[in-house]
């Protein structure tokens, strides 16, 4: 199989911006630093909102191995909205996890999703495959005249921040040039050069244990399941994980402990015997990628600093066991881009961007809490913590009550923005899963799926609604979707509960802004204003 990370997908090409008079550099509405999954998703989303966007990346190809592999249903829904739905088909769908202690199985879990969502709960796909899909989509949009450019081998060397713009000094194989941006999105990863150049904090907790992360190519008949071991015979006293990726590629994590030399342990003569102990002495395999990590859980205090906005790993970092890294980064982009588009187009005040920070800091804290707990269980940091961990594992072999405490990674769920200033007070008697702030659940509707009819714009979803009230001319497009609950019983279950009818105001990122059992024009207009942080929301 050819590896897309060997190909320059967006090779360096000289651009007219580089020939601008030095005193009058080109100015762009939005510049994104970093063409990883988050930066590319943001670029596509902004271009779909017709906001011109320039992506600068110091490389000219997708990233190499051993990065994100597990993508959640919410991420697949976002990718589908962005025109990258094939990611779900290219990935490996799995729904069973098994946890072993010593030589025996202690518990398992299923993420089995009833056949009522367009996308599965999780798929495994190499990050470089996803990036390849995103680059192709971005380039296809550009070829159709979409306002999107990716400039390869354009490295941002310096940043100057001003009240209404950001100055960027960019180095290329043909020398330096300057560009100005009304808004800068820093999607440049956990070691974010943007964050460093701006001298901003990135604090949290570092864990001491080293993990060997290997991507191994092999023909194997292991089941398509997530297997996790505590203290297995092949890695005594430590943990291990095995997870399948597409194309005979397998992800293996081996905990190595604290006092090891990563440079030594990375060598094939050290790695291969460890893998043979796990996979069996006769198993043929090839190493695609090996690296050694220590995990961290940390975030920036603020995700926005004036005209610079941080998204993805540049803003927050978590340990990897729950699929919270790339997934939360893509959800950052999903949350941010409609807001930034509304601000750039003058449909909303800058204050709307404060809600990006509020909502995604809330999500990051949720993710960091889960990631910290699972990492503490997998690598207990104190003697007492290890004592309780080992007691849970021992009890879990015979006692069902202890099994929910076994924590080999709780898989991520999308955050519900329960406390957000963008949401309006809830109506009584409607289901909890569709409360204001929640990401909307998918459901089959005649001819397709509910989520395919929403997203990108605000949407008014009428479930068994009367004709909509008269709406005044709005600055923003508002899509109206009618669902007959008799023809869509799962929509009725998830959006009505026991109620006869309801109307939902959905945000462009497919979260609930407001809902009513009997909507009228005035509260609807007020909820829309509130969801855009418009000042008139204050006195309704």
């Amino acid at each position: 199989m050819s590896k897309s990370f060997d190909l320059p997908l967006y090779p360096y090409a000289r651009h007219a911006d580089q020939d601008q008079d030095q005193d009058r550099p080109a100015r762009h509405p939005v510049v994104i630093v970093g063409a990883g999954p988050v930066g590319l998703a943001a670029a596509i989303d902004l271009a779909l909102h017709e906001v011109p966007v320039l992506v600068l990346d110091d490389n000219d190809r997708v990233s190499t191995g051993s990065r994100a592999i597990c993508f959640s249903q919410r991420t697949l829904q976002i990718l589908d909205r962005l025109g990258c739905g094939q990611a779900a088909d290219m990935g490996v769908t799995w729904n069973t996890g098994r946890v072993f202690h010593g030589a025996g199985e202690v518990c398992g879990f299923t993420v089995l999703d009833e056949d009522s969502h367009k996308h599965p709960a999780f798929v495994n796909l190499q990050q470089y495959q996803l990036e390849h899909i995103l680059v192709q989509r971005a380039q296809a949009l550009a070829a159709q005249g979409g306002p999107l450019q990716i400039r390869g081998r354009n490295r941002v060397e310096a940043i100057g921040t001003h009240d209404d713009h950001v100055r960027l000094s960019v180095s290329t194989p043909e020398g330096d040039y300057e560009v100005h941006a009304d808004w800068l999105l820093a999607c440049d990863g956990a070691n974010s050069p943007t964050r460093r150049m701006m001298g901003l904090d990135f604090v949290g907790r570092a864990f001491e244990d080293n993990f060997l992360i290997a991507d191994v190519v092999m023909q194997a008949d292991f089941p398509t399941e997530r297997h996790f071991w505590f203290d297995p015979p092949f890695n005594p006293g430590q943990s291990a994980m095995l997870h399948r990726q597409p194309g005979d590629l397998w992800r293996i994590d081996l905990q190595l402990g604290r006092d090891i030399d990563p440079e030594v342990e990375k060598r094939p003569e050290r790695v291969i015997p460890r893998l043979k102990a796990m996979l069996g002495p006769d198993k043929d395999f090839a190493l695609e990628w090996v690296s050694i990590y220590k995990f961290q859980c940390r975030r920036m205090e603020r995700f926005r600093s004036g005209r610079v906005i941080f998204a993805g790993d540049s803003a927050h970092q978590v340990s990897p066991f729950g699929a919270r890294g790339a997934n939360s980064g893509i959800q950052d982009a999903d949350n941010l881009c409609w807001k930034l588009a509304a601000v750039v187009k003058g449909h909303a005040p800058e204050a709307l961007l404060d809600s990006y920070e509020f909502e995604r800091v809330y999500a990051a804290d949720e993710n960091i809490l889960s990631a910290t707990r699972e990492t503490e269980f997998i690598t207990p940091s104190t003697q007492a913590s290890k004592l309780f961990r080992d007691a849970v594992l021992a009890l879990a072999e015979t006692q069902d009550f202890a099994r929910p405490m076994v924590n080999s990674g709780r898989l991520s769920r999308p955050t519900s923005y329960d406390e957000s200033t963008l949401t309006s007070p809830d109506a009584d008697g409607l289901p909890d899963i569709t409360r204001p702030g929640a990401p909307i659940p998918d459901a089959p509707v005649p001819g397709g799926w509910l989520l395919d009819q929403t997203g990108g714009d605000f949407c008014l979803l009428w479930v068994n609604g009367a004709p909509p009230p008269d709406l005044p001319q709005l600055a923003l497009p508002l899509r109206v979707v009618h669902i007959d609950p008799v023809q869509a019983p799962l929509v009725a279950q998830r959006y009505l509960g026991d109620a006869a009818r309801a109307a939902y105001l959905l945000r462009p990122d497919q979260h609930v802004a407001a809902r009513w059992r009997a909507p009228e024009t005035k509260p609807l207009i007020a909820a829309l204003a509130r969801a855009l942080s418009q000042p008139e929301a204050a006195h309704v």
């Binding site: 889960s370 707990r373 913590s385 849970v392 009550f401 099994r403 929910p404 405490m405 709780r410």
Partner: protein
């Protein structure tokens, strides 16, 4: 007489586990063991039944022998 509860009985097992572990942060081994002993005595009093305690001891011992 109530029976020892061995089915899943917690709404938030991860949160309860985290609280238990966090209570030992910064304690020496001796302090930590003493905390556990006091905690067990408090919980035994809360349970209020020697039979339930003995059933719990049996379940704990049984899990230990599988090590």
């Amino acid at each position: 007489m109530s029976e020892l509860i061995l089915h899943r009985n917690l709404d938030d097992p991860d949160g309860v586990y985290a609280d238990l572990v966090a209570a030992h942060d910064g304690l020496s081994k001796a302090e930590s063991d003493a905390l556990t002993a006091r905690l067990v005595l408090i919980l035994v009093n809360h349970i209020g039944s020697r039979d339930v305690l003995n059933a719990a001891l049996q379940a704990a011992n049984k899990a230990g022998t599988l090590e």
